[in-house]
């Protein structure tokens, strides 16, 4: 029967179209983009070969390093927030709400499916100062505090961005981690309880070590998403005030499409890709070391 499942013509018909589209849209452009890094120009004015100029410019461009710093800071804060609060949520689901957690899970998950642009505009209005005092400032006012101009300084804007991205994703990480914790056998938990482990002790010594694999995948997924953050920022602050909340993705986009510098834009995109790879590899390696220790 091997020849039926090994039919070359059938394989070509089934796999061909997908491979063709994938190659044309993903693989070729990635290589092409690498090629752009040694050119300068755009489709309208044409391209000139500049060698490694883009890379030397990249190394000396303070805006790039600001963007890298912002990207890393944002990724670190939001990943820690998403995974940590998500983990607390999953513990709440499993150990406190138990069977009745379904309705809470479903409600808290809801913001995950909302379009980022819609959520960002909603948060702009929630944190607004003028002309309408938004919900957050109204609450601050009712406790006697002064309204805060949330989008007036880089630090405040960063806070709003982080709050929004954590708000919209804790439902996701709650469910993701919940699925990991539920799989811990009830017998294991019961025998730990008989040995006197309760509350945080149970979580620290039994639940946490057993849910490390799912925590790891949550961290990797989160860091990969946050390093590539784009929608949230372009819709919420558009990188402002000034360049205070401008990540690499946004800087790449502006360089390429506002200033028409395709070569330099591609070089920034390459830097972004390398940062993503390095961080993922770093997490993988450091987690493996931890696992062998434990």
């Amino acid at each position: 029967m091997k020849h039926v499942l090994g039919d070359k013509r059938a394989i070509a018909i089934l796999l061909g179209p997908a491979l063709l589209v994938y190659t044309a849209v993903m693989l070729v452009p990635v290589l092409w983009s690498l090629g752009y890094t040694v050119f300068e120009g755009n489709t309208i004015i044409g391209f000139t070969f500049v060698g490694f100029d883009n890379f030397t410019r990249l190394a000396g461009d303070p805006k790039v390093w600001d963007a890298v710093l912002f990207t890393l800071k944002y990724a670190l804060v939001v990943t820690v927030g998403q995974v940590f609060i998500g983990y607390l949520m999953s513990l709440l689901y499993v150990f406190v709400l138990k069977k009745s957690s379904n309705i809470v899970r479903t409600l808290v998950f809801f913001p995950v499916v909302l379009p980022t642009v819609a959520v960002a505009l909603l948060f702009q209005k929630l944190f607004e100062v003028a002309p309408q005092t938004g919900v957050v400032n109204s609450i601050i006012n009712s406790f006697g505090g002064e309204s805060v101009d949330w989008f007036g300084s880089g630090a405040n804007a960063f806070l709003v961005i982080a709050i929004m991205d954590i708000w919209r994703s804790i439902g996701f990480y709650g469910v993701l981690l919940y699925a990991g914790i539920v799989e811990i056998p009830e017998d294991t938990l019961e025998s730990a309880r008989l040995d006197g482990a309760t509350g945080w002790g149970l979580v620290r010594h039994i639940v946490l070590p057993l849910s490390l694999p799912v925590l790891l995948s949550a961290v990797i997924f989160s860091i990969n998403g946050t390093l590539k953050v784009f929608d949230t920022i372009i819709a919420l602050t558009n990188g402002g005030p000034g360049n205070a909340t401008s990540p690499l993705t946004l800087y790449m986009f502006q360089t390429s499409f506002s200033y028409g510098e395709y070569g330099y834009g591609s070089t920034i995109a390459l830097l972004l890709t390398i940062v993503c790879l390095l961080v993922t590899v770093f997490i993988f390696r450091s987690s493996r070391r931890d696992l062998t220790k434990a």
Binding site: L5, Y22, V25, V96, L114, G171
Partner: protein
């Protein structure tokens, strides 16, 4: 957390409802009451979480019915005085949300159909069919999950610009298909793994070609998986901003996300009511799907991430 474990044990031993529907007297013992009291802070925490999650959305809906006067003079917490549907009419017509919505539908659903058809076929070829080099091809597909969108923007933009496709929705359909394929192919291969090869071999004994048995047997057997993936991909593509922002060059081609992003700058800056109405229109589609299919959406989205 010790209180919660206490409460936990209490809850575990709470007797089930008696046939009459009332709790048995036993639940009134003092220990039970203390356990109930101990649960109050936790219950408050749960309520707090729900309020933080749900209130902004309720506020959004209420605000979409307010008039400009109510925004300027009223409290943000006030309920709208009337159900002012004019905001929705303005957002739909003057704000062009109707046009943007139809653009989104026209770009997303063809792409979704292509992703499912091509991705399932590729998953079948990579998992069920037997040939050399399929692991290499699967690995090539996996690379695509990692690559940031920024890496492919400029070359694709150049191609679409020079071939003149930029004046249509085709760049979106093509790019969405290409970006959706890696995850779809990979997950479909996983679904086909659970079906024994003998099923397909047996069907070909009756004289059907392998391609025919893919469509008549393979496709229906992974129906559930296809449905899940279609949901996941729908949310990814429908909510996409980067691709839609880059490859649409005229306001007539904007998708609903790009349209809403520009709405604030062009029209919504002074028109609060219509802006909130436009956000509601944008949210409405995903809301309906989530209300109807929430369990599958939750499973699908989290499964997609772990595999990716």
């Amino acid at each position: 957390m010790t209180t919660s474990t206490l409460a936990e044990h209490a809850e575990r031993t709470v007797p089930p409802l008696s046939p009459s529907g009332r709790r048995r007297l036993g639940s009134r013992r003092p220990g039970r009451i203390r356990a109930k009291l101990a649960k109050i802070p936790l219950n408050l925490a749960v309520v707090f979480i729900l309020v933080i999650t749900v209130y902004p959305l309720i506020w959004l809906l209420l605000s979409s019915f307010k008039t400009n006067d109510e925004f300027v003079n009223g409290s943000v917490f006030a309920l709208p005085e009337t159900l002012n549907w004019q905001n929705y009419i303005d957002a739909w017509t003057t704000g062009n949300m109707g046009q943007y919505l139809s653009n989104s539908v026209l770009a997303v659903f063809p792409a979704l159909a292509l992703i499912i058809l091509l991705g399932t076929a590729a998953g079948f070829a990579l998992e069920v069919m037997v040939w050399k080099g399929r692991n290499g091809v699967l690995l090539a597909f996996l690379v695509g999950i990692m690559v940031p969108g920024q890496m492919i923007l400029l070359p694709l933009f150049t191609v679409y610009f020079q071939t003149g496709l930029s004046g249509s929705l085709w760049p979106l359909i093509i790019t969405y298909t290409g970006i959706g394929l890696p995850l779809t192919t990979f997950m479909m291969a996983t679904f086909f793994r659970s079906i024994p090869r003998e099923v397909f071999e047996a069907s070909t004994l009756d004289g059907a070609s392998i391609i025919r048995s893919f469509f008549t047997i393979g496709f229906p057997m992974v129906r559930n998986g296809i449905f899940t993936i279609a949901l996941v991909q729908f949310f990814f593509i429908w909510n996409d901003l980067l691709i839609a922002l880059t490859f649409t060059n005229s306001s007539a081609l904007r998708t609903i996300q790009v349209g809403l992003l520009n709405f604030t700058g062009e029209y919504g800056a002074t028109q609060y009511g219509p802006l909130f109405a436009a956000i509601c229109i944008n949210v409405f589609g995903t809301l309906v799907i989530y209300l109807a299919l929430n369990q599958r959406v939750m499973k699908g989205l989290t499964a997609g991430s772990v595999k990716g």
